[in-house]
Symmetry: C2
Subunit: 445 residues, 2 copies
């Protein structure tokens, strides 16, 4: 069904039936998107027409921009009314994105028993396991019988995001195992949970980076992963749908960082913000290109005597840049899959160097033949051939080493690799090419 026409129609006529029917037939996330087309006063009207529970769900599913708009039309008591229906991790996500003043006011107005947990969650880094976990999960004692467990599950289940896996804790709330709901359904009702418990556990600490959490959930095909503190006391769980959000976010980050955009930017970002986000990177790049220009400037006299060098040089630098980027992509991808690190895999650098040599030789032969046909100077062709082999070897070496060294230094390889790589291939490529030209100068003129 068309969401927007029904939505605007229901709001303008203040028709609760139309809105209610719409809420039954569509997902909250689609309503949140459709709300973007409404004016602020219409959003307030919509809030007054819809059930609080549904509005809370829409708020939770809305994107950051829309969340801010919804919050801006509501007063504090209305917002807290919505928080009541939301899970703690969703409330925390919202509180993280608003001003400190507003956050403090909202926390002051909330009930004490709710805020202690939320303040604890707010204390975790938003990119860590603690920052994305939910505290609504089912944790039962191993002493419970299956019948008792089922009653607890019926009781708590509707408020939790995961019922397929039940977490088992001891008296100190220390995590000791899991039980699959399938086994609870199949077991006889007086059996104790400990008899069907699986002791094999994959868990993360509250401080674990979300990318590592995603890697574990993906590797072990988990529906949810428990989060514990240093004493293995269960703090919360992370469900697989939150992991998907993490993966989308990390994917976005990787692509943008490789392209030289260090912060998240989407198509609706304002011009002013886009300038702020992209300009710093361009300014760093400016240093790089000046370095290249400076290197070439050292050979100005050579170029002055053999101007064709200036025409041919982009071939060498362009090929080296491309070959380096290929190596870089493969290495960065394997780093984020956790499959490569410098200490264990340093020998692979020889493969990349050799690969650069082979690809350099093949493209070098083609290039020199074409150049010989064009210019008829064997030495130009020879210089280009040697330069292509040399600069593709350099590209392989740096394309391999740069991301791994950055990783070793705990920097994000996706962010800074490409700039170091371009600098290396441009500067060293120009040095090799123009250096050879100086060597062969009498033969070129």
């Amino acid at each position: 069904m068309e969401i927007y026409p029904n939505l605007i129609n229901g709001v303008l006529n203040e028709d609760k039936d139309v809105i209610n029917e719409l809420m039954h037939l569509t997902y909250s996330v689609d309503i949140a998107t459709a709300l973007k087309g409404l004016k602020n006063e219409e959003i307030l009207k919509f809030y007054n027409l819809v059930e609080e529970k549904s509005m809370a769900d829409i708020l939770a599913k809305a994107d950051v921009v829309m969340q801010a708009r919804i919050l801006s039309v509501l007063d504090y008591s209305q917002i807290i009314g919505l928080f009541y229906y939301m899970s703690n991790d969703d409330v925390v996500d919202i509180l993280e994105n608003i001003s400190i003043g507003m956050r403090k006011k909202l926390l002051n107005l909330m009930k004490k028993e709710d805020t202690s947990l939320i303040e604890e969650l707010l204390g975790y880094d938003s990119d860590s396991a603690g920052g994305i976990m939910t505290t609504e999960y089912i944790a039962l004692s191993e002493e419970l019988t299956v019948a008792e467990a089922l009653n607890k599950i019926k009781d708590i289940g509707p408020k939790t995001e995961l019922i397929e896996t039940i977490f088992i804790v001891d008296k100190q709330k220390k995590l000791i195992g899991t039980v699959d709901l399938r086994n609870i359904l199949l077991a006889s009702s007086n059996q104790q949970l400990k008899s069907i418990m699986r002791k094999l556990l994959v868990y993360v600490y509250a401080g674990t980076d979300q990318e590592e959490v995603a890697r574990l959930v993906s590797k072990y095909d988990l529906k949810g992963i428990p989060v514990v503190n240093q004493n293995e006391i269960l703090l919360g769980i992370i469900t697989v749908d939150d992991i998907i959000d993490v993966m989308v976010e990390e994917h976005m980050e990787d692509i943008l960082r490789l392209g030289g955009v260090s912060e998240e930017e989407n198509i609706s970002t304002t011009l002013r913000t886009s300038v702020k986000k992209r300009l710093p990177w361009l300014l760093i790049n400016l240093i790089t290109v000046f370095l290249t220009a400076f290197t070439i400037g050292l050979f100005e006299d050579i170029i002055d005597q053999v101007v064709v060098l200036a025409v041919v040089m982009p071939i060498v630098l362009g090929m080296a840049g491309n070959a380096g980027t290929q190596t870089l992509s493969v290495v960065i991808r394997n780093i984020s899959l956790g499959e490569v690190n410098l200490r264990q895999n340093w020998r692979l650098v020889f493969k990349e160097i050799f690969l650069g040599g082979v690809n350099g030789a093949i493209t070098g032969i083609i290039t020199s033949v074409i150049l010989y046909i064009l210019y008829g100077n064997l030495y130009i062709s020879l210089i280009v051939f040697i330069s292509l082999v040399g600069s593709l070897v350099i590209a392989g070496l740096f394309g391999f080493l740069i991301p791994l060294v950055l990783k070793l230094m705990k920097a994000d390889p996706a962010l800074a690799s490409s700039i170091f790589l371009t600098t290396a291939t441009d500067v060293l490529g120009a040095l090799v090419f123009l250096g050879l030209a100086r060597l062969f100068l009498p033969l070129l003129i």
Copy 2:
């Protein structure tokens, strides 16, 4: 615990107890990784020590290379014995990766009732919803009571990957709704499923691309998504853990394609294969760099007279390339999030053009001041300033248009965009810069 020492110890001593304990204390995926360190005859020994069901799970979780090794040490009847314990989609994944001859032989040796479904699954494109779906799910009639449903779930549940969502079908197996297991647990036992069924449905067709499936599961926070045919008959489901695999795969593809590696390559790929995978892209790039060289060659006489142009030009081309890549990354990311397309968002091109102008002007001023200090020629500075503004505008224009036009033409924007972009920024950047130099020539000498 250390997996490999126990594994090799158990295998060499043919000690079933050691192996059994190992199987209880570790995940199959970790065993599959540890098996890589064994010789082929040791893998066969391991197979003889371990339960068939466990071996089947290890085979399903192993990577493609390891799967091939395990299959190579087993005979056909042993392989079919393992298939019996595996889900259909895992069997299909394996059959897709082996030789056609071996696949035919295995299918011939399997029971007729098993093969019809598997052959149907093999018919789907491996990147489509049909290719990744599983046929092990719970589909019940809306007429069933809650008590009857619970019995069915206990019966079928252990064999299915998803029990939190139960799919409801009519007599023709047409999908009509879903029921949450939480609601089944809470409802009274003689209630009919239709009274607690949710009619709201997100589903995909068997031919839907897996990237679109992942987008829907992510957007709607689903635990699983049903796959139907054109008549909305339920064919299978895709669970969220398979979606995570899809996302890892698509992420890998995007990163590699942006870097100019068109096929999956990992760190252990042989040199020969790496050359085969990367060389074609480098050859295409060779055409691009020759195009740039040709463009510069058109201005050989100008460079001959003002050699400093050859020194300064890399600044202009380098900055344009970087700015274009920034735009490209943002646009490609927004394309794969489904948030931008050319028909609806073409007006945004003006934002990118303007952004290029602003960033070009700022970096242009800095660059011209530095160059004026170095060379003391106002006109060189002026040419560089105009060229930077012009080429960053060109970079914004092409960085925006290229991926969207490719998308419109149903090509993969991540694969081919960067090569077209580099060509555009290099060739047009050189044209603007050297064209201006020709215009101002008398003032430069």
